[in-house]
Amino acid sequence: MLLGAMFGFKVAVGTGNPWLGLLVAMLAGGMLSLLHAVVTINFQADQVVSGLATNFVGIGLSLVLGEGLSKAGTTALLPNWTVPGLSAIPILGPILFTNQSILVYFGYLLTPAVAFYINRTRPGMHLRAVGEYPSAADALGINVYRLRYLYVFIGGLLAGLAGATISLAISPGWFSELTTAGQGWIAIGIVIFAQWNPWRALAGAYMFGALRRLILDLQGPTMLLWFENPFRAQSPGFFLQMLPYALTIIILVIGSRSAMKKRVGAPAALGLPYVRGERGR
């Protein structure tokens, strides 16, 4: 994500074209994910360890390549857009379809598309199979390694996209690692919270988004209802900003516990490398 944010902003500043920035950001995320893929799929390394290591590589690369970028000033950003027609719907129109970043609309479309792809198409079924029970897929001639590579890469593309969404639309600019401020970890929390269901992930993501917004809003006014706003001071402000991350930890603990126990939604072969002929999945 951070790499995507950096590349997205850097390319946009360099070329003046935010769309090109977006594309490069996605590719950068994808390339980094391939490193993770090689380590976990080919060398069967622990996915958590490799994930952490890849994360540090990403941070390091971003900081080095993004050197001096924070002083680059502003650039052309991704456009906002109002959907003709839909924006006229009372209440929902102004909230959902008026003057939003083009990427917000992309998010609207992506969720149903992903849900349909995973549950209702042949390649989606194969995707589920290689995550749930790779030996079954392998026995039927599905190339487990190739599919796992493909989807890790797609995951990387989307992470890059997420980074560029921040640096080119939500809070434009490059503020070293504070650009994304570890929000990728929240994404992991949301996936567990959503029990690997795209629709619930959508709900979870908006819930976290609303929480962040609420925190910003809470810090704004001097008076809250009839009381002096206690959140205006510096330290409670930090405390509030910490809340989404703390919530992520709580969700991760609860989620991993119940997921372990009842296997709710989590792919059965999650975190397990696949080696043909090895017993016990």
Binding site: R120, T121, R122, P123, M125, H126, R128, A129, E132, Y133, S135, A136, A137, D138, A139, L140, G141, I142, K261, K262, R263, A268, R276, G277, R279
Partner: protein
């Protein structure tokens, strides 16, 4: 038989694994429209040979022809394309997907969007054709093992397989399901399919197969022998390499007082589902109570609750009158409850510790093996040597890592450890599973010796013949409940089979009484 091309011909197949020659120049023929059994002990190379045929392994040497054409498979997909379908012993099904999804998994068609309603209909039509019924919309995890097996077979038929390779298909079925299954096989043979049937059960092979090939240590000791011209004894000798005693002598039981008393035990399994729904049983000193049942009906959980390894939600475990439910494994050990667990490598032994260390694993807290701080090396070595000799554990020395022992010898080591504590109660879970005939004999002898010594034994086994041969009483468990208790001399395999499928003893008796 008229001169037609063989469905499959395998010539001089050699397959090596690191340190093992799994198949040593094996020949195998499958005629069109026959059931050909592949017989052998565990580790004889049966599954390896068939995995070669199914394209999962590549042989180092040898040639394969299918319907007269030379073939070379690089993946299971190639084998399926040539009309060979394998149903593995461990089912290759995705638990979270539906029956239909599993059947069409990996196929080229439909290209992209799945029209489930239409596909379900197609699967139903196929089921009708072969009499293999199972709800296409059901998720695999909701199905019984027998139904899952039907899905596996349907999967291969849907792909147009003309040769079906079945790896120990009856191991997971109740006697009734086996009957049904054999009828299905006959139907498939009649419609022109050829079947390879892997098994280590002699009776079944003689009942189902036309011909049999026997493997021992990776070599064929008999190739394509007609089952009509052979006997169980002859096959066993080919399989094991020596004369085999099928049944041990069992003196009449002299049951003493109740030593183990289980009352209304309830417990959950690892998934949080209720696995025991009120189990009550009594075991007396000097008798063997056999627990029969299809795997996964609460046997493991029951054994774990008794040995203190799983918490019960409610109920009592009384050992000599003292309630030890929800205490700890240590309490069970101190009350001389021996445990021969299902999982020999994970629970029964510490694979990377030495044989000697594994043998003292339950006595190290007590003198003379251990004091408060230190272990007494010389005592440990002396005891280990004695046990190794007494239980005939084939290992180069007592310092060898437990992981390097064969299954049979590891089990003997576990028994040696448990028996050396002079148990009052033995909880033995699948003690002979996966062992060769010789080791099975040894394990069963140990249990019978302990029974003569006055130990109360609870024997969990999926091998009905074993339960029938060893037990003084048999209780059948189904979905965490006891369906009934019978004496082996007063019951039949059919009666036990019905209970294994979920019928209560009183209902079965009611029915038969009605006929009389």
């Amino acid at each position: 038989m008229p001169q037609i091309v063989n469905a499959v011909e395998m010539r001089g197949i050699v397959k090596r694994f690191p340190g093992v020659l799994a198949n040593d120049h094996v020949d195998f023929d499958l005629c069109q429209g026959e059931v050909h059994a592949l017989l052998g002990e565990n580790g004889a190379g049966k599954s390896t040979l068939m995995n070669v045929l199914a394209g999962l392994y590549k042989p180092e040497e040898g040639a394969i022809s299918v319907e007269g054409k030379r073939v070379s498979f690089n993946s299971p997909r190639d084998a399926i394309a040539a009309g060979l379908g394998m149903v593995h012993q461990h089912f290759m099904l995705v638990p979270s997907q539906t029956v239909t999804e599993n059947i069409i998994l990996g196929l080229e068609a439909p290209r992209f969007v799945l029209n489930m309603a239409e596909l379900d209909k197609k699967i139903l039509a196929l089921q009708e054709q072969y009499g293999l019924r199972v709800d296409p919309k059901a998720k695999i995890w909701q199905l019984s093992v027998g139904e899952q097996q039907r899905v596996e077979i349907l999967k291969m038929l849907y792909r147009g397989a003309r040769v079906l390779i079945l790896d120990e298909p009856t191991a997971v079925l109740t006697p009734q399901e086996i009957k049904e299954f054999i009828a299905t096989l006959k139907g498939m043979v009649a419609s022109g399919h050829s079947i390879v049937f892997i098994s280590h059960k002699l009776d079944e092979v003689l009942a189902i197969a036309n011909r049999v090939t026997v493997l021992r240590h990776g070599r064929a000791t008999a190739s394509g022998v007609s089952t009509a011209g052979t006997t169980k004894r002859k096959l066993a000798e080919l399989m094991v390499g020596r004369d085999v005693i099928f049944f041990l002598e069992k003196p009449p039981a002299t049951p003493g007082p109740v030593v183990l008393d289980l009352q209304d035990l309830k417990a959950e399994n690892d998934r949080g589902l209720q696995a025991l729904k009120g189990v009550s049983l009594q075991v007396r000193a000097g008798e063997i109570l056999g627990i029969a049942g299809v795997a996964g009906n609460g046997q493991s959980e029951l054994a774990q609750v008794i040995t203190g390894m799983r918490k019960a939600l409610s109920g009592h475990v009384r050992v000599n009158g003292e309630d030890v439910v929800n205490r700890s494994p240590r309490v069970a050990i101190n009350r001389q409850v021996a445990h021969v667990p299902e999982d020999r490598n994970g629970v029964g032994s510490a694979p990377s510790l030495s044989l000697a260390e594994n043998l003292i694993m339950k006595s190290y807290r007590k003198a003379p093996v251990g004091s408060r701080l230190a272990l007494n090396r010389s005592v440990i070595r002396k005891q280990a040597e004695e046990l190794k000799t007494a239980f005939d554990i084939a290992a180069p020395n007592i310092d060898v890592q437990a992981r390097l022992l064969s299954g049979g010898n590891l089990q003997k080591a576990i028994l040696a450890r448990e028996m050396s504590a002079e148990p009052k109660i033995i909880v033995a879970v699948q003690p002979t599973r996966g062992l060769d005939v010789g080791a099975i004999e040894a394990v069963q002898r140990v249990l019978l010796d302990e029974r003569a010594r006055g130990t109360a034994i609870l024997l969990f086994s999926e091998e009905l013949e074993e339960v029938m041969a060893l037990s003084d009483r048999i209780a059948v468990i189904y979905e965490g409940q006891i369906m009934g208790e019978v004496k082996p001399e007063e019951t039949t395999l059919e009666q036990i089979g019905l209970m294994m499928a979920g019928q209560r003893l009183e209902n079965i008796r009611g029915e038969t009484d009605g006929h009389e």
